[in-house]
Point group: D2
Chain length 148, copies 4
């Protein structure tokens, strides 16, 4: 069985854009965290979850998700420079850490070589009280399916 296709929500790609570089000619470092977060959003959508059930917004006030997922920690390592037009392969490895927290490790490859990796850790909180709480059914489902 081809795991590349069986968990297609963990295997993404993108292309480096001009506005992501700085005058040194390579991507400006914190753009990698944007890639991490956008890859996570794309992964949730490809798995089948709705953005409006996960991400709070004033426009959605009457139906706000009860659980918010603020980021409490993140880190990244940069191994090779990336420039405009480079094709990047992205691999996500989500794991549950506790009843109310999980993290996503994201590996970025170019020509089959790892060029950078990022890690983003989320803590579930009740969006009203802002106290820690358990992860939602949706996020738990995505985490379990991702780590099978």
């Amino acid at each position: 069985m081809d795991t590349l296709h069986s968990k297609n929500w963990l295997h993404l790609s993108r292309i480096v854009r001009f506005g992501e570089t700085d005058s040194a000619g390579v991507i400006h470092f914190y753009q990698l965290f944007r890639w991490c977060h956008e890859s996570w959003e794309e992964s949730l959508a490809k798995y089948g979850l709705n953005a409006s059930d996960i991400f709070p917004s004033l426009l959605n006030k009457d139906n706000e998700p009860l659980i918010a997922l603020p980021i409490v920690h993140c880190k990244a390592d940069f191994l090779k420079p990336l420039k405009t037009g480079d094709h990047i392969q992205i691999e996500l490895s989500p794991i549950k850490i506790a009843v109310g927290s999980f993290q996503v490790e994201t590996k970025f490859k170019c020509d089959n070589e790892t060029v950078a990796q990022g890690l983003v850790r989320h803590q579930a909180i009740n969006s009203q009280t802002r106290l820690s709480c358990e992860l939602s059914t949706e996020i738990n489902s995505w985490l379990e399916a991702s780590s099978l």
Copy 2:
């Protein structure tokens, strides 16, 4: 009377940062709109207004501003390249267009030469109904003081 000092909330400055450039070596164009918006925010604060009375946020849900100020139009002209470390002088010219709208023209100078200019137009809307409405007392006060 020194107009530079009498309306100090319309005369700002900033320094070009490395992450604002792209691999052509100059600021990436849309960063100018960030400068326009941040200059407007700085102007409101220097004039004496509170950010929490102007800018909506889920964290401030019980005390949300009744009036939101979405941007309906903006434009910019780029005259000279800007690079990391350049010192920029900023001049804001706000004007009221109608009972519910205003725009801010922002001129950016380097060594007393205009290097770029931006314009951002806002329309007041009721934050619940999202229908057009009149500008708030606070914004009207800032507009009047700015155009005296």
Copy 3:
């Protein structure tokens, strides 16, 4: 003949991401210009051009494009709010303005309704002298094919 498929490099799409919104719950205005520029880059690539032939970089110093394409003017109109997860259809309309300049009008639609539009104008310059010059063969080719 299906024009959607015959000029596929002018018909793109993207999904609104969480980090592109602000605390008012909708996309922060200048992100639209990032979409315009990234759509233009995607269009050039889908048409068959190489990023390294168009976009300068210090990493590519010995083979730098002779012609740079700085943006001299841009503008945008915002018609409807956009929130995280919205699916956006993108239509590009590039036109040549003069021997050394062109602009790209970009229309953004959601559920077949225009929600925003942007326009970005470029001026060709010699990357060494920084004086105005003619557009490159590559850009002229893309412009001609796009306006047939």
Copy 4:
């Protein structure tokens, strides 16, 4: 002796801007790394260094810094939410790690409480060969003065 004033290049401040928040109402996480980098740039300038001696640019090709300082690692912890208009105090703690590398720990405080912290590690490389090298005299001077 007042250390706050004696090393003023390590004590900075900024105000949270609307465009730095996301629809959850707080700063979008990776903006913190922009703050880290911009604080570092401001620190170098306040200490007396020129941006053009540190940061490479195609516009500066004939006088390019011989040493580039790419970021090889970074991390951040987020302790409290930050919203538009919050006043942030910033404290930088730079340390040299090896002959060719250093890191800057940056603490962000609001109302005297630590709300977030970031760490960014740089490796000096020869900008032509891209091989590891020693830090420049300028950076060494700033590091020594900062850790006295």
